[in-house]
Amino acid sequence: MRRRLTTFYMIFYLSSFVFIAFQNWFLYSPEALLIFNATLLIPQIAKNFANRSRRGPTFQLALSLCAVQSFMPIYLCMCPSNFMEHETDPITGIYAVLVMGASLLVLMR
């Protein structure tokens, strides 16, 4: 247990370091938003499918995880008067919202 926990913390800090080192790409790139951010619930759907089970997180938990994780990138993509004065990309934002909504629907069906 302790060894596995150490491995987990190493992976966690390494991933966080990579995210921070390439923060501009992870925060502003449409590919990063669609591949790494909007696909939050896909592993849960895959696990449910593998277990042939409908048990999983509650709708409130899934929604709050999605909202907390994707609010800032979607705000930067879709709000034309955002405080960082970042150029908006509404199409990417709409795709991200659609992917998240679809995965929520599949998870809660």
Binding site: S16, P43, Q44, L61, S64
Partner: protein, 133 residues
């Protein structure tokens, strides 16, 4: 910023601009501060709402191991990493930006969220799945 080239177009020497004009657009500071304050308020409310949901889920999971075994560790760890990333982004902006001090508030809540609630949820789910294996 507008750069005008020098008149010596045919010269083999490196070209330097002959004149640099800066066009300064006046910005309303109170409008800018209002945007930051509104963003910080919405972000704080969102993270605090997620606290209550996570607390409820932690309570349910600590009593129901089969529910803990049904949660995906990859989803939880991905969310943990993103929240830590957003904590660092907000923290950096609040320190570096001249008028971005309000972003310290969402940074603080993201920090609490990732290192208190989500890590607790993750460890509970992990323990349940280890005992299953």
């Amino acid at each position: 910023m507008i750069l005008e080239n020098s008149n010596f177009e045919d010269s083999p020497l490196p070209k330097f601009p002959s004149r640099i004009s800066l066009v300064l657009e006046p910005k309303m500071l109170d409008v800018y501060m209002e945007k930051i304050a509104n963003y910080s308020f919405v972000m704080t409310m969102l993270v605090m709402a997620s606290f209550f949901v996570m607390l409820g889920q932690i309570k349910v999971i600590s009593e129901n191991h089969s529910l803990a075994q049904s949660l995906s560790l990859v989803t939880l760890s991905q969310n943990l990493i993103w929240n830590f990333f957003f904590f660092t982004i907000h923290f950096q902006l609040s320190i570096q930006g001249e008028y971005l001090q309000y972003l310290g508030l969402p940074a603080f809540w993201y920090f609490i969220s990732s290192f208190t609630f989500e890590s607790r949820l993750f460890i509970l789910v992990w323990r349940a799945q280890l005992s299953q294996a």
